[in-house]
Amino acid sequence: MTSIGAEQQSLARGFRLPELLPWLALCALYVFLPELLPLGTQILVMIIFALSLDLLLGYTGIVTLGHAAYFGVGAYTSGMLAVAGWDGPFTGLAAGATAAAVAGFVMGLVILRTKGLALLMLGMAVTLIFYELANHFPAWTGGADGLQGISVKPIFGLFEFDMYGKVGFAYAALVLLACLLFVRHLVLSPFGRSLVGIRENATRMTAIGVPVQQRKLIAFSIAAGIAGMAGALSAQTNQFVGLNVLSFELSGTVLIVLVLGGAGRLYGAFLGAPIYFAAQDILAKGDPVYWLFWLGLILIVVATFARGGVLGLYGSLMQRFAAQRLRLKRGNP
């Protein structure tokens, strides 16, 4: 956990060069591999979604298997509004995020009273409740056929969504940048620090006068709001919302994406999402059951041997190098 504190300290010193890397990669993708842009947009949506989970899981230490509920609320809200004629892109995002944050707040009131197994169970139950709702009001949500006919106005009134996904990609990247700056600011603020404190030792935080339950609820609502924004973005760029946005699979996927990259690290999601999609592309060839098998194996290996994901491994390697260099300097290798 010390490496995570170190990450926060280095982030707090201001923007560093490595933080530009993901954006350079996105620009390169846009210029050199335009045929990958639709997939790239999906990855961007997943990064935003994983970023919101990171706030909850990585920073506050709340393990949940029901985060898809808020993604789904955001997706359905903006999708249904767009079908009804409210088709501004940014207002749609805001509506999705607001609805999801409100849902997160209400559910969080109950869920956060419990812990461990009960908390996991209630998170899953929330997703199932929303799933049942979406399934039983097909007149509004399209039911099992999915919500179709979503069209969004051009962004800033200038850039219309094209069939090659160029505008969608740029739009998603813009939203990701906004979300990242917000989350970055949040985790470096005193509020964000108190969340980490709650993760490390909730009893002690209570003892020094932090309203733990209230902070958790705020973090939960914010995370739900960002997840809702990711959902709304997915609805706008896919122009479709299916019932699978409220599935356990999606909750599981976002958890795996985050953990592969490294939970509790700001840029974990940026690594986890591409790794996940690439691994899926390679390992799922022909038969999705193979993929399930490999995914299971990856999860077991990550949980038992590689805690902290890719960024965690990198961090511990760096620490080892640093220690070695120190030893060499002292003259006793």
Binding site: T114, L120, M121, A125, V289, L292, G296, A303
Partner: protein, 291 residues
């Protein structure tokens, strides 16, 4: 009036049978959760393995139903000891997240393995003729299989209750559930005890999987699809409480059956809402201790 009565009887009867299957499968999870606070989402894997094993033993070896059930429970218990030593043990002190991930990984691998070995379709259950028919009581007919399930579930509850509440091993288990470090201090080998309880719980789950194979179909997605129900039983009953798990299974089984029969459109919705209300009033479950 007579039809209302028959609906009620049918709900209670089918609900009870379902509740017993849920109880037998979930009670082991409640014990291991209470003892070591290990978030074992893969508990359903053992039930699924028990179901596959029992059906395979019956089909391939021609063994009678009860013998096949006992053998499959034993097999699952042995396999769970191997898993406990190889995987679970590494994560005892670890955080909730790592335990969650590892056990979800186990579910995924077990699902894929079941898919490869037995195909994607649910397994056909050939019940022995003794329990596959109906019997008549008070002018009504009841399926014998469900009556058998109810009896088996009650016997299991009584055996477990007696074992935990009235024997020395049970006293040790209760001590470890209550306060593990204290139990260690008075000389109880909690590590070995946990392996025992883990194997017992998994074996009982395996038995439940085989017993309930005709109610909860044995298919590759078993461990994931029904996970929420096992978790509801455990968290609504209260961790580590055998009686709590029994009561919670009764409420869930009868409630779920009633909703599915009376209001099929929104049945599932009500069950989850009820769970919310219970945990809102008692966050530690009905029989759980608030610490």
């Amino acid at each position: 009036m007579a039809s209302l009565l028959s609906v009620i009887v049918s709900i209670v009867f089918h609900g009870l049978a379902y509740a017993m299957v849920l109880y037998v499968i979930s009670v082991g999870l409640s014990l291991t959760m209470g003892m070591l606070n290990f978030v074992n989402l893969a508990h359903g894997v053992f039930a699924m393995a028990g179901g596959y094993a029992a059906l395979w033993i019956m089909k391939a070896q021609g063994a009678p139903f009860t013998l096949a059930l006992l053998m499959s429970a034993l097999l699952v218990a042995l396999a769970s000891i191997v898993l406990e030593r190889l995987l679970y043990r590494r994560l005892y002190g670890a955080g909730e997240l790592d335990q969650t991930l590892m056990t979800i990984g186990l579910i995924f691998m077990a699902t894929a393995a079941a898919h490869f070995a037995f195909g994607p379709l649910p397994q056909r259950v050939d019940l022995p003729p003794v329990i596959s028919g109906h019997f008549f009581v008070a002018g009504r007919d009841f399926p014998t299989y469900r009556a058998f399930l109810i009896a088996a579930g009650c016997v299991m509850f009584l055996v477990l209750w007696f074992g935990i509440e009235r024997t020395l091993v049970g006293a040790r288990i209760r001590a470890a559930v209550d306060n593990r470090s204290m139990a260690q201090c008075v000389g109880i080998n909690t590590s070995r005890l946990f392996t025992t309880v883990f194997a017992l719980g998994s074996g009982v789950a395996g038995l439940g999987g085989g017993l309930g194979a005709d109610i909860i179909a044995i298919a590759p997605g078993y461990a994931m699809e029904h996970l929420i129900y096992f978790l509801i039983v455990v968290s609504m009953g209260g961790l580590g409480s055998i009686t709590g798990a029994f009561v919670a299974a009764l409420i869930l089984g009868i409630g779920d059956t009633a909703c599915k029969i009376l209001i099929p459109e929104v049945g599932a919705f009500f069950v989850y809402a009820a769970v919310f209300v219970v945990l809102l009033i008692r966050p530690a479950g009905l029989f759980g201790r608030t610490t």
